[in-house]
């Protein structure tokens, strides 16, 4: 293997990892943008999605599309339900109550999964019949190409949704100023539910891609993924969708780069060091808006 193809391969590794971080980070960012909540349950929705994918793949292995559909649908329903049951009654409470509730939901999901399915990891059968593709001198896994492609398509669709549709305009309006938007006739509850639905659907897509790349599911699989995606969201500027995407790719590439130079056991430390530096130097992130507090 030449050094050139080594570099190409490592970049693809980084983009694949980054794509998954990006999908999760976008979910974080959308919810934060609209109700200023760090939805820590988001990464556990991914865990549930992954278990749904595992269930369908283990039982109906020849129909991977059913697994994909079921896990997106399952995540969407779960996300909307959590919003209705746990967050909506607290909408006028202090933000710290919401945050603590989110952490509570996160633990609830993790421990329920552990109780029902056991703490041991489960193997997800492969989604693709052709595992590797050869492009020139470089062999790449089908999973990494599909992951990168799916992320690109999802981001284009999401941008169109937010920028070009009526619902998207409502989302932007609520995120800008909820009360005024309501006065202008926007259905706030509907819009917030819709945002959760879209964010959770992305989590569903993320969970399937995660299963393709790392074919094991366990009850705590979401926690580290969630933390890193959170770092990605903060790095890109929390609340900003393109920012979350950029952040995800940067974290993914950083991890791979750090491993590639032989410091693989330091990669988590480097990621969290980035979080600290960003919070010290530019807390609003790369694409975040600087909001000046009114005194």
């Amino acid at each position: 293997m030449s050094t050139f193809s080594l570099i190409i391969k490592q970049i693809i590794n980084g983009l694949q990892l980054g794509s998954i971080f990006a999908l999760v980070a976008v979910g974080y960012s959308m919810v934060y943008g609209i109700i200023r909540l760090l939805n820590f349950a988001h990464c556990d929705i991914i865990m549930v999605g992954a278990y749904i994918a595992w269930f369908f793949m283990a039982n109906f292995a020849n129909m991977p599309l059913i697994a994909v559909a079921a896990s997106i649908l399952g995540c969407t329903l779960l996300g909307v339900t959590i919003e209705k049951v746990a967050y909506k009654p607290l909408r006028s409470s202090p933000r710290i109550s919401l945050l603590i509730t989110a952490i509570g939901i996160s633990y609830l999901l993790e421990n329920t999964a552990q109780l029902m399915l056991g703490a041991a990891a489960k193997k997800v059968p492969g989604f693709f019949t052709v595992e590797t593709i050869r492009i020139g001198q470089v062999t790449v896994s089908t999973a990494s190409l599909v992951t990168i492609a799916v992320l690109a398509i999802s981001m284009v669709l999401l941008t169109l949704l937010v920028q070009k549709t009526k619902l998207g305009r409502a989302m932007r309006a609520v995120s800008e100023d909820a009360e005024t938007a309501q006065l202008m006739g926007t259905n706030i509850n509907g819009t917030i539910s819709f945002t959760f639905a879209v964010g959770s659907a992305l989590a569903g897509i993320g969970s399937v891609l995660y299963c393709c790349a790392y074919p094991q599911v366990s009850p705590t699989m979401g926690s580290m993924l969630g933390l890193k995606a959170f770092v990605a969201a903060v790095l890109g500027g929390i609340g900003s969708i393109p920012g979350a995407m950029i952040g995800g790719f940067m974290i993914g590439l950083t991890e791979v780069f750090v491993s590639a130079i032989g410091l693989s056991t330091w990669k988590d430390a480097v990621v969290f060091l980035i979080l600290i530096i960003i919070l010290l130097v530019k807390p609003s992130g790369i694409l975040g808006k600087t909001v000046s507090e009114k005194v």
Binding site: K9, N13, Y214, T265
Partner: protein, 392 residues
């Protein structure tokens, strides 16, 4: 006539004296061996496996006439898994006159007993305590010369797999990819690397990952660039299952090797990805005719519940003890004396090579830290099923 009668009477008296003497000699003529371990409580499954395995061999020896015509008398003590009880038990076994001990079973209790046994030079053979501290104290640089074992220490598998790769697979280059911050995985990785260097192989990549990692692509890509003949993955089955899957997806086609942490890996990677990989193990049920016969007999006598690796290593431990006893009997020392115990230890050290153990048909030898050099079982994966490959 009177003279004749006197002679006959005298002869009869002599004979009866001799008979008396013979009777007394028979009583003294047993050799006492202790068996110490948890026979009740949570750890009973290990303790009883060791006890029954050892008992089976000693009973056979007795049926065949004993050691040098003397029967082996077993003195059994149950420590209930408690280290204080283990020490009390050991003292009581010593008081009852044992000349060797099969045990202790768990690492913690074994260490406690070693502290008592080393000063009095009591021969000990454990079938199950794998920690290095059992025979060697790092702080005082003391080797406990009276303590032996028939199970291998974890890291030993690393050096065995390096030998296997070199001699059986003809590997010239190797890479290792291990979980950092874990004694088991680091110990195996280090032993593997050391042995590779000793064999003149070149270790072209040494990569590590952290606990909880799921993405190994970056490190595996580096390993691919180095193009080794074999990659050693001395980790646990969940991680290694993921590593094998990702490695194959990246296009790494070389032979992958593992330690006994691989047991169960077939559930975490596909059959075709695992095809032709090898891992080390202590035991493979039914792999040799001797082992099969042992298992059948064990099941018939004690049931299936206690039939595990340690039943077989305990059977071997009893064999090793008997090798020591035979040597001690030959030395002519008095049973129970210090010279006798010394002769047992010397006998174990020099005579275990001829012990055809269940788990090590090629015998046992002990290195400078009293750790055994013995066979490991090499398991290969065929169509997703772990299959016995060879004793190595």
């Amino acid at each position: 006539m009177k003279k004749f009668l006197a002679a006959v009477l005298a002869a009869m008296m002599l004979f009866s004296f001799a008979a008396c003497g013979g009777g007394g000699g028979k009583e003294e003529g047993t050799i006492k061996v202790g068996i110490l371990g948890p026979h009740t409580g949570d750890l009973a499954v290990y303790g009883l496996a060791v006890r029954y395995g050892a008992e089976m061999y000693f009973n056979k020896v007795n049926e065949a006439g004993g050691v040098n015509g003397k029967k082996v008398e077993l003195v059994v003590y149950d420590d209930q898994g408690d280290s204080t009880m283990a020490v009390t038990g050991f003292t009581s076994l010593v008081d009852s006159g044992i000349v060797a001990l099969v045990g202790e079973v768990t690492t913690g209790n074994c260490r406690a007993v070693v502290d008592e046994a080393y000063p009095i030079n009591m021969p000990m053979v454990t079938a199950s305590a794998t920690a290095t501290s059992i025979t060697y104290d790092e702080d005082t640089k003391t080797v406990f010369t009276n303590v032996f074992r028939t199970c291998f220490i974890d890291a030993y598998q690393g050096s065995k797999m390096a030998d296997f790769a070199f001699n059986e697979l003809g590997a010239k280059t190797a890479a290792v990819f291990y979980l950092s911050g874990d004694d088991y995985t680091q110990g195996l990785a280090q032993a593997f690397v050391d042995k590779c260097v000793e064999n003149g192989m070149s270790v072209v990549a040494q990569e590590a990952f952290s606990s909880g990692d799921v993405d190994f692509n970056a490190q595996l890509t580096k390993i691919m660039k180095a193009a080794p003949d074999v990659v050693f993955l001395p980790n646990y089955y969940e991680d290694d299952g993921m590593i094998v899957t990702q490695a194959r997806k990246l296009g790494l086609t070389c032979t992958l090797l593992g330690g006994d942490g691989w047991a169960g890996i077939e559930k975490y990677a596909s059959a075709e990805d695992l095809e032709g990989c090898f891992y080390a193990s202590a035991y493979a049920a039914g792999s040799t005719p001797e082992l099969k016969a042992f298992e059948d007999e064990f099941k018939a006598k004690y049931g299936e519940d206690y039939l595990n690796t340690f039943a077989a290593t305990a059977y071997d431990a009893a064999m090793v003890v008997c090798a020591g006893l035979e040597a001690a009997e030959k030395s002519g020392a008095e049973v129970g004396s210090d010279e006798y115990k010394k002769a047992v230890i010397e006998g174990i050290r020099t005579g275990s090579g001829s012990v055809k153990g269940l788990t090590s048909p090629s015998g046992y030898s002990f290195d400078e830290f009293n750790n055994p050099e013995k066979d490991v079982v090499i398991i290969t994966l065929k169509d997703g099923v772990p299959t016995y490959h060879m004793n190595y």
